[in-house]
C-alpha cells in the first residue's frame, strides 16, 4: 500500500520496474528497496526460520539485523531492506540459512 498524499513529504518515485517474487510478476520503483516494493504489494513475509520454519519479515529496515534475508537473483542472504530494486530481479523467499554459491 503506497501513501497517496502526505502533509510533509513529496515522494519522488523512480521509473517503474518489473521484478518477480516467487515467480509472480510485480511492479515497483527503481531506487526503492526490495522490501519497500514487496510491502507496497502487500507482501511482508521474507523468509522461513532455520529451525522452527516460522515465517519472518522485516525488523530493523536499515541493515542492522538479519530478519529480512532473501534469495535475490540466485544469491542467498541478501538484506532486502537495503538492497535497491532493479528491473528484472528474481526475488525468492529464503528457507533456512541459504546456500553459498
Amino acid at each position: 500500500m503506497r501513501i497517496e498524499q502526505h502533509p510533509i513529504l513529496d515522494f519522488k518515485n523512480g521509473n517503474k520496474v518489473k521484478f518477480t517474487f516467487q515467480g509472480r510478476e510485480l511492479e515497483g520503483y527503481e531506487g526503492e528497496t526490495i522490501a519497500s516494493a514487496l510491502h507496497a504489494a502487500g507482501i511482508r513475509t521474507m523468509r522461513e526460520s532455520a529451525h522452527l520454519h516460522r515465517p519472518r519479515g522485516l525488523f530493523c529496515n536499515i541493515g542492522n539485523c538479519s530478519s529480512c534475508l532473501m534469495v535475490v537473483n540466485g544469491e542467498s542472504n541478501v538484506r532486502v531492506c537495503v538492497e535497491r530494486l532493479r528491473e528484472g530481479m528474481v526475488v525468492e523467499t529464503q528457507k533456512g540459512k541459504g546456500e553459498l554459491k
Binding site: I3, A40, R44, L58
Partner: protein
Amino acid sequence: MKHREIAIIGGGPAGLAAALRAANLGARVLLIDRSDYLGGQLIKQTHRFFGSKEQRASERGIDIARELAAGVTANEKIQVMTEATALGYYEDGVLLVEHHNKITAVKPDRLIIATGGAEKNLMFPNNDLPGIYGAGAVQTLVNVFGVKPGKKVLMVGAGNIGVIVSYQLLQAGVEVAAIIEAAPRIGAYWVHAAKVVRAGVPIYTRHTIKRAYGEQEVSGATIVQLDENLQPVPGTEKDIDADVICLSVGLTPLTELLWQAGCQMIFVPELGGNVPLRNEFLETSVPGIYVAGDVAGIEEASAAMMEGALAGLNAAASLGYTSESLASDRKNVLAQLAGLRSGPVGEKIRKGLAQAML
C-alpha cells in the same frame, strides 16, 4: 594502504557534524558510511526538532539532513565513501573497509566512531511474526519510501520514538489503535503525547504486550495491565486487532568496532547498554579514537550533532590544526550540550554520562 588524517565511521548527524568541523579547521577527512546516502536516520525525521537555534530547533530533521549532507559533499577536504562498511580496526591502527566487494585498508591518524544505535527487541510469544517491526523500521518504510506497513498499528513504548512514529503514521493515513507503555509515566515529551492523544490515539501507561497472535502474519495482540512491581494484573487482558505491531522499547549503541579496537567499555543502562569510557574531549581509552552520537550513549539527534561537532574539533585540534576561535567554539559546543542535558528530561543522560567518564 591509504593514509588519512581523520577517518569518520558513520554519516548520520554525529558523523556529518564531525566531518564539517574537522574539515573547517583544515583537516583532511575520510567519511565512511555503509548506506548509499548520507544523513543516517535523520532522513526519516519529518518532525520539527527541539533544542535551541544553534541545534537548528524547529527545523525538520529531513531538511537538516539534506543541508548537512550537501555541506559535506561540497567540502573539498572531505572524501565521502558511501556503500562502504567498516569491517575492523586492528592493533597497528589499520581500518579495513569493504566497498563494492573490495577490501580497502586505511590508516587514519585519528578515528571518530559515530556508528549510531540499533533498535531493541522485546520478548513475548510470537514476537517474530511478520508485521512486528521496530518503530524506526516502520518510520523508514513510511517516510523514506512512502509505503504503509499495514492498516492498523499497536505501538509498544511511549518514549519519543514511539509517540513521534505514531504521529507520523497518522500523517501517512495509517490508523494507530493505541500506544502502550510498561512504565507508569509517558517517556516522550508531553507535547508530543498531547499531539497524538488529541488526534485520537489513546496512551495506556502501566500496560505491556502479553502475546501477539496470528498465523502467517500478525493479526493482533493481547495487552495486559501491570502493577507497581511490573507484574501482570490477572483479569485485565484485552485483545487489540492490529496487523502491525511496532516495538519502540529503546535503542542500544552499535559498539562492535569499539570492542574490537580495545576501547574500555562499561554497561550503563541509562545510555542504552555498553558504551565506551571517554574523556571530556570524547576520546576513548585508546588514544586517537573518538566517539560521538548514539554509539557513545543513546540521546536525541540534536545532542548527536553537538557531540559530532565536539569530536571533530578535538580530533583536528589534536593533529595541530587550530583557529582563532577554536577555544570559544569548543566552549560554545560544550555549553550547548550542557544546556540540552541540564533540565529534568536530561537527568537520565547526566546520570549515565557520570558513569562513563574516564
